[in-house]
Amino acid sequence: MRPITAGRPVITAWSALSPWGEGAAAFREGLDTGWEAVTLVDSHHWPGTPVRAGIVPGVRMEYAGTRGVRSLDRLTRLTLLLSGLLLDELGGSTGTEPEDTGMVFATSGSAKSGLDFTTASYAEAKPFHVDPARFPSTAANCASSRSAIWYGLKGPNTTLTGGDAGGLLALAQAARLLGQGRAEVLLAGAGEEYSEDRVLLEDALHGGPGQAPPLAEGGALFLMETAEGAAARGRTPLAVLRGSRFRAYHRQRGGSAAGALLRCVTDLLGDTGTDAADIVLTVCSEPAGPLAEEEAAALAEVFARPGAEAGAPRRRIALRHRMGHGGSAASAFQTAAALGADGNGPLRAPVLVTSVEEGRVAAVLLGPPTD
């Protein structure tokens, strides 16, 4: 990667809406206490049968009762709330013109909205007796574009889908948009909703009923701008986005998650001129099943390499066992943890975020703003 000479992308604020509650403070508290936020929720399809999930507690209802918002699905409501929480961190405004303010949001969308809409087409008297107000929710860009409407964000508004790495893909794409001057500031991150339909789809992919890990909902958003822009607006960066790398692997052709992640992180360190010995913290993805061991093995090798003490244990944290699996939001939660693990000030040393799932790995390196 060519060195970035101008317009370094920085994160100046963040917020989260997670099973730990609303806002960055609740997220940091969850992180500090290690509180397990996975709870039992009643099954919609089989009442009386509990399902384990990480649910955002008490989604505020002012977003639910307003005219024109009643028909919004849960993903969109959560995203509206999450965007508002980030803007609250900034005193209600990004301090930029609406045309220069945008959003890059990763999500897998609302499977429930799509299923319900099509089911109505079969179940109602006529196949077109569907609720037109719910049609936009069946497209994955609904959450982000509704946030734009709600908060007047008229700049680039992009939705991405890329599995668990979604939150990291959003950071990478936001950095590119900033680098090309397409926006002054971007709300970048990821989010998902909990629905039993999402559970059933994940179960089907994991071998049957009850086989999928508990799912989490909510998300995290980061205010991204260039270092120069942040300075001009009087904001102190919390971190620099040093770089990102993404890889695929094909197990049926001999590939492995461990091999892919090792290469991915090695490339990222090379791109950014970072010595692994300088990294103080890794926030790993802790995927379900044997993949977690592959992630751990790759990281052990990364940190065994530098000249320091061979195989020295590095500080590593994971969230999934405490809040459930966030899908696209998982890597956004991890990024929030990277920023929130040591208080609410700027990073003091580089932090690595890794994402591992079947077929795909990703890594992002955040550095202190003094970079």
Partner: protein, 421 residues
Amino acid sequence: MTVGQRADDRRVVVTGMGAVTSLGTGIPDFADSLRAGRSGIGPLKAFDPTGFAHGNAGEVGDFEAADWFRRADPQDYGRAAQFTVAASRQAIQDAGLEDGQLRARRMLVSVGTTDGGTRDLDRLAELRFTTGEIRPDPQIAAKTGAQRLSDAVVDELDLEDVESVTVPVACAAGNYAVGQGVDALRSGEYDLALCGGADALTRKTFAGFYRLGAMAPDLCRPFDTGRAGMLVGEGAGMLVLETLESALARGARIHAEVLGYGLSCDASHPVAPERDGVARAVAAAHRDARVTGAQIDYICAHGTGTKANDKVETAALRDVFGAELPPTSAIKSMLGHSMGAASALGAIACVLAMNQRFLPPTANHRETDPDCAVDCVPNVAVAAEPVITQNNGMAFGGNNAVLVLARFDLPVPAATPQEGT
């Protein structure tokens, strides 16, 4: 063509294209159909349209996924992902790239879509309704994720050093994906990207647009006084994007240059387009491409044929271009609205127009509506030499993306001095 103040490693060119459309699969068929003003519209076959008063659509006929898959198993993927692979296979062959060469490169694969794997999500809804089985069939469930579109390409091409992303920004998604490719190449992270869009026709989207009253009963007539709406369609368009430096280094045939693009969000209404938002995307594209409206020779309109779209789009174009608009046609009149594929196919149509020296027509045209009075190239393609072209994409949620492309003519080498002269 002199545009680039940008260095060669920041200029983005198109070196490969592939298309799956209701007008034919493969660039030659697509180009011939555009030039001939053919219609890809016919009675809906994707599902039983009983209960709908009308059901015309632009469906892809006679598509055999197995014709395009060499390595991955087409049964692992839904129809939209299969279209994506077919268009990608064409594009990399067109670019003169071998699988081995691709695997050695660091790449971005970005695929725009509206519905992603909804064709299979619809199937699950149908099975729920007809059988009462709530739990999804695992083989169908595996095809429902939108990310399966880009992942199918990665699987088929056996890519490893790749950023695989699907861009579900509804009906402008193809332009978003190409734009992501432009930025990824300009940033220096990549020198090769495979970008475009794909969608398969779904009952969900048909029922939704029908319910909104946005669907024409028979034909799609953009810019016409009697226009009655859009027709849903499907397909895929994929483009190999490359830095000029990379393309020249490997002696690639260069189809066109992507001069730039622009994004905006209306931030006003969930489904209705807004004039100011669209105009901002057009102006942003012109700024990024370093062109003025006067330099643009042809516009491939979003042109859905709904009352609202054509009027708002034309007004927005006039806000930026002033009174003089270049010829502005709507290929959705022939293709139907192929959703996430639409603006990718529009971009390809622009490249074909520039290289094959014609303007694609607006089919089914009878009388131009004064509310959207453009030279829509009615019914018959026109011989022309467009050098710079613009491709519009507008989506639900007010997500707008506009692309500017230019014919790429290599500089003529200086004449070698003749001996004795």
